[in-house]
């Protein structure tokens, strides 16, 4: 079964580039695109599929729960590490970072590039991409009014930044709709994307999940006392339905969401 009887005899080292440090388990793990093991093709190995690497801390840190500091490696850092499982190469462990000369253009096959799936969305801005996707026939097609009601909310929540993380201490809501991990929403986003081969950090993956969520899960989750989003005929109505039945934030932001929705409508519809 194993060539060696002791795991330490199977070590394989690597150099890679950090692409994500937003560890859902809060253990300071990082995703690393490893030179020579993870192709540069984000089709074959999308970013969401990269393994999380544990990170070694210096022995001057306590190394036990509640003490010491966390790893602080940032995306784009060049790191050195080993595979704990040798040539199987599924279990990376980062030992340290390797300073390098920074350049505007990273070269090489493993250079991180935005998901090509995002590029496939028509439109030039995230706002336009989202609008055109929501009114498209992929899953349910929303009317322009309904789409703008949704987008006004998303702009309020995240500025339509798919990598946005909540600034509320301890909340860690994520993505364009600020899906909250405390009520399992972020996990649902990730699971949906993993199952369907989408990058959960991409706009495309999050829009696919949003439409799926609105068409399926959402309808069963909340009381539709304001009516169904699919029946909304005004921007105000669509924005409020999305706010109170999907986002369900604290009170006080309704007007801002509506204003943003109206501006989007003026720009795009």
């Amino acid at each position: 079964m194993y060539k060696n009887h002791f795991y330490g005899d199977e070590t394989r080292w690597f150099i890679g580039r950090v692409v994500d440090n937003n560890d859902p388990l809060y253990l300071g793990r990082v995703k690393v695109r490893i030179h020579g093991i993870h192709t540069g093709s984000t089709q074959d190995i999308p970013e969401y599929a990269l393994p999380w690497a544990q990170v070694v801390l210096p022995v001057t840190e306590e190394g036990t729960t509640g003490y010491g500091s966390n790893p602080a490696i940032l995306p784009t850092a060049q790191v050195f590490g080993i595979f704990l499982d040798g040539k199987n190469s599924q279990l990376p462990l980062v030992i340290g970072s390797i300073p390098k000369i920074e350049s505007d253009v990273e070269e090489g096959p493993n250079t991180y590039s935005p998901s090509t799936t995002d590029d496939n969305l028509p439109g030039t801005t995230n706002e336009e991409k989202t609008f055109r996707y929501l009114i498209s026939a992929d899953q349910h097609a929303y009317t322009p009014v309904q789409a703008c009601g949704i987008i006004g909310n998303l702009l309020h929540e995240s500025g339509l930044n798919p990598l946005a993380v909540s600034q509320v201490p301890g909340e860690d809501s994520f993505g364009i709709a600020q899906w909250n991990p405390a009520v399992n929403r972020k996990q649902e986003l990730i699971e949906y994307c993993v199952q369907n081969g989408f990058d959960y950090t991409s706009l495309f993956g999050q829009l696919k999940f949003l439409k799926y969520d609105l068409d399926n899960t959402y309808g069963y989750r909340v009381n539709k006392k304001l009516g169904d989003l699919k029946d909304a005929s005004t921007i105000d109505q669509a924005s409020k339905i999305f706010e109170f039945q999907y986002e369900r934030p604290q009170k006080g932001s309704t007007q801002d969401r509506i204003d943003k929705a109206r501006k989007v409508f003026e720009r795009l519809a």
Binding site: M1, H5, F6, T39, D44, I45, P51, W52, L84
Partner: protein, 457 residues
Amino acid sequence: MSENNLRDTKDDFELLEVIYSSDRDTTILYDLVNMVTDFEIFEHIDKPFITAQIALLDTTNFVQNVDLQGGEKIRISIQSKETEADNDSITKNFIIDKVIKSQRADEKTEVFYIHCFEDIAFKSSLININKFYNDTPTNIIQNIVSEYMGRNLISSLDQYQTNMQVIVPNMHPIEAASWIKNRITSVDGLPYYFYSTFANDDLYLVDLGQLLTRSPINRKAPFTYIKSMAQQFKTDNFIPILSYKHENIDDVLTLIRRGYVGASYNFLNTLTGQNVNCNFDVKEDVFDQLDEHAMFKEQKRYNFGSGEKVNDIPLSSHNSEIITHISGNGSYNNGNYNVRTIDEELDPIAYKKRISSSALRHFMTKAPITVQVQGRPFIRGTGDYSIGNVARLLFLDSNRRTDETADPDYKKSGDYLMYAARHSFSVRTPNRLTTSVLCARLSMHHDNLSVGDFVNV
């Protein structure tokens, strides 16, 4: 026609064509039938492809004229001559990977020995997979086979294996499929085999339980090494073993040192810091389990002397090896703990099944025997006479009785899995085919059967 009368007709087979072609000059197709003097075809249950070795008698400067460089194609078509009605032929496509050697027969004649891989294997070596998969192991293998190998996969259905997430780390398709295959077990902890046969173009992914419980293909006419008794029985009841080899068997010490008899296995998860410990005892964890599931009804004496002791402790109760590996570090854990990667199991029992599976794979080849028999049945193309099927062998023990009550040699007789085969075609007058079959098994009969029982079952 009785199988024992195969030699009555002139040829064992007809070599229909041996077509040479090269992409460097697509206008040229050579039929090398008249140049081939001998060729051998190999199949093995651990290999999803076959290989061939061809001897060419070159009197026309063929090799020089075509400028053989490796990578050229060879298509071989053979037809069985077992019966007059045999019209089906077996056609196999190969790619030359090397010339093993050339020898001058005389000043004008040279013999070339060419080695070939089945095209699927050669092409596989040109493809690198570096890709993420999230599926059941069987489906991952199925996807690799259909996407990169273009063959039909026949697999035994076992829903025991749940999803795994892996990034194939730069492997060829066959290598990747075998890598996944080696990590999976059946629900009973039996290993899987991934193979192809000479008989057809399908690929097989089958667990050992299904292989070993198949009915012997020659139940009514075992391969026999009982020349002195041939006259006692109907000739239909025998396919003679022309020769056999039974060497380097029952090496229990190697199995002990590899941790397949008794060992302590540890699987460490560095995400949780938890260690799963499995004390493995091949008797309790493998052979007793097979008994409990009544896996083998007729052959229940296993390839392991479980009564042997050292210091009054059975061999399998010694933790002779301490084997520790890192099974996981949560590398694919995005908040869902029910995600595993290739060496990781969600259920501690699955680790023991994995060890059992590996031990069984090695115990299968603890006491192999190679028998050489007439090869005609193997080229009928029906698929029953091929590796992956069970064959019955019969040898006499050393007593002098030669009637039906004579005892068989239980150490050699019984039902075996055909593990590998070498088909040796001799293209002369008449054409002859002999097949050497490497036979392997986990267990043998109890010593209460006579030769007659073997033949008349």
